[in-house]
Symmetry: C2
Subunit: 317 residues, 2 copies
């Protein structure tokens, strides 16, 4: 565990020219629905549409010029792929992105627009396919989460949150492999040890709840979820110790509440997020994370990759 707030601050300086300092929005209109003072970190407004650019950019900017020119390979359920494709276009190198067959069309199209090559496979095979391609092409693999440079990049969002509202009581972060919450929690606990950091993961894939209970990364059964960016079956081995050390608990959120969170943010907050981001609001709607009327609570809105057609299902929730 060598990642500290020092590396996260270095990452911030490194990626600053390429990323947006996204707003932390005070959303008064959501207070009555969530029972607290609501803030949202709007990473759906980040360049490429999600926080993933922070980590990918930090990792790629840490490569040598020689490594960079060998080209980049990434395996991704979508947003990481977009981020790597964009970063490679900006930095003038070739990207090859491995996507699961189930990827949302809107994400795939964007990746294609940025000039990356796309290779599709089963979600369970994506890491193997990526490693094989790297060997064949002598390219550099940029992992989606299980890497300290990636975590340092994601952690820059945590630095911003605490600068934008130092008196936050609670921050709730969507979790999959743990790159985002590992980095964000490391930053927040360093700057403000009294701020609680909770993770929110799909109840269908409770990899962190199970792993924290076991004290080590545990593989959970493969199941589908509407939160299509939160599909890891096991915590990242690099991420897990940071998450275990710096978080205050996890909420395992039901599918219905994930969508309800997304719907509330859109209809009352007027902000569009992907289902995987609605999960942080869903966690409180489902009563899984304790909040009080006077608590300042930040909901981390990780991304906005969703099509208009996907909004239909919110109508019947």
């Amino acid at each position: 565990m060598s990642l500290t707030v020092r590396e996260i601050k270095a990452a911030r300086d490194r990626i600053a020219p390429y990323i947006v300092r996204t707003p932390l929005l005070r959303m008064n209109n959501l207070d009555q629905f969530l029972g607290c003072e609501v803030y949202v970190k709007a990473e759906c407004m980040q360049t490429t549409g999600s926080f993933k650019l922070r980590g990918a950019m930090n990792r790629i900017l840490s490569l040598s010029e020689e490594e960079l020119q060998r080209g980049i390979v990434a395996a991704s359920s979508g947003n990481h792929g977009k981020a790597v494709a964009y970063a490679c276009k900006k930095l003038g190198t070739k990207a090859t992105i491995i996507l699961p067959n189930t990827v949302a069309e809107i994400k795939e199209n964007t990746i294609r627009q940025w000039g990356a090559e796309i290779v599709k496979c089963e979600v369970s095979e994506r890491l193997e396919v990526a490693e094989k391609l790297c060997q064949e092409r002598n390219a550099v693999l940029v992992p989606p989460f299980n890497d300290e440079a990636i975590m340092a990049g994601q952690g820059t969002a945590g630095l911003e949150i605490m600068e934008q509202c130092p008196e936050l009581d609670t921050v709730i972060v969507p979790a999959s492999g743990g790159g985002l919450i590992g980095g964000v929690a490391t930053a927040i606990k360093s700057l403000s040890p009294g701020t609680a950091v909770f993770g929110a993961e799909p109840a269908a894939l409770p990899r962190y709840s199970a792993s924290l209970k076991a004290g080590k990364p545990v593989l959970v059964e493969k199941k589908s979820t509407v939160a299509d960016a939160l599909v890891s079956q096991i915590p990242g081995s690099v991420c897990f110790p940071y998450v275990a050390a710096h978080t205050d608990g996890f909420a395992d959120v039901d599918e219905e509440y994930i969508l309800r969170g997304m719907k509330l943010l859109l209809t009352e907050g007027k902000l569009l997020c992907e289902p995987s981001s609605g999960i942080s609001i869903g966690a409180v709607l489902q009563g899984l994370i304790p909040v009080r009327q006077t608590d300042k609570v930040c909901f981390f809105i990780s991304g906005g990759s969703v099509s208009l057609e996907q909004l239909h299902r919110l109508e019947s929730i």
Copy 2:
């Protein structure tokens, strides 16, 4: 013309406990689509969902205690009615809201929730019906726009915009009767004479373009528009001189571009607005307002009263 920035600043102090200082969002992700540096004033995040609360609250807080207790009547295509109903509930008096038969259901339901009585009529008769009700009940009419206290309240959004980004080159504001743009333009030109202020109105109801050409308020033919909050057929007589004095031009925006503006804000900006707010972005998409790559342009997003079902029509645009 006695409204100046002094009255607008007084309004700001008066309404401050009741309204939200909404964010001015820098939306980098829209720059490539609009050809300028994009900012949006997010009044869709205002309490009651639109800027209308500013004017209504200022007008009602300017009443004597005796007037307040006689009860309030308002005629409105929706957002003004919501604002008056909310203000009356907050201040402990009765509201009666006159709605056009065509009002969106989502707006009507909200008004009912806040305990107001609702009376429906044809859109063309709404002012007469309101005046008759006031006489019968000895109540106070709060007009939607044609009033200096209303304009002063709406103008507070202009003060905020210039405080939030003093170096704006251009501000584009949706227009109907002229209460919003009259107040906002008065504030902006007082603080920053070099900032251009443009109005955006439906091409189907070009009441300001026609009136500015004629040098006086002109009644235009009644036509329908997707911008259901911008249905006035004639500028307000009180508003018109302020708009004529303090604006730099008007864009008459086609229905298709109104919806395209709304769609762009949602899909790329991740912010949900009503069609009447998409018009300011639509004006630039249609090429009706000149902007340069380095211009800082603020799009005034006036409200967010729209149902999920109404988003279907964006899919085919």
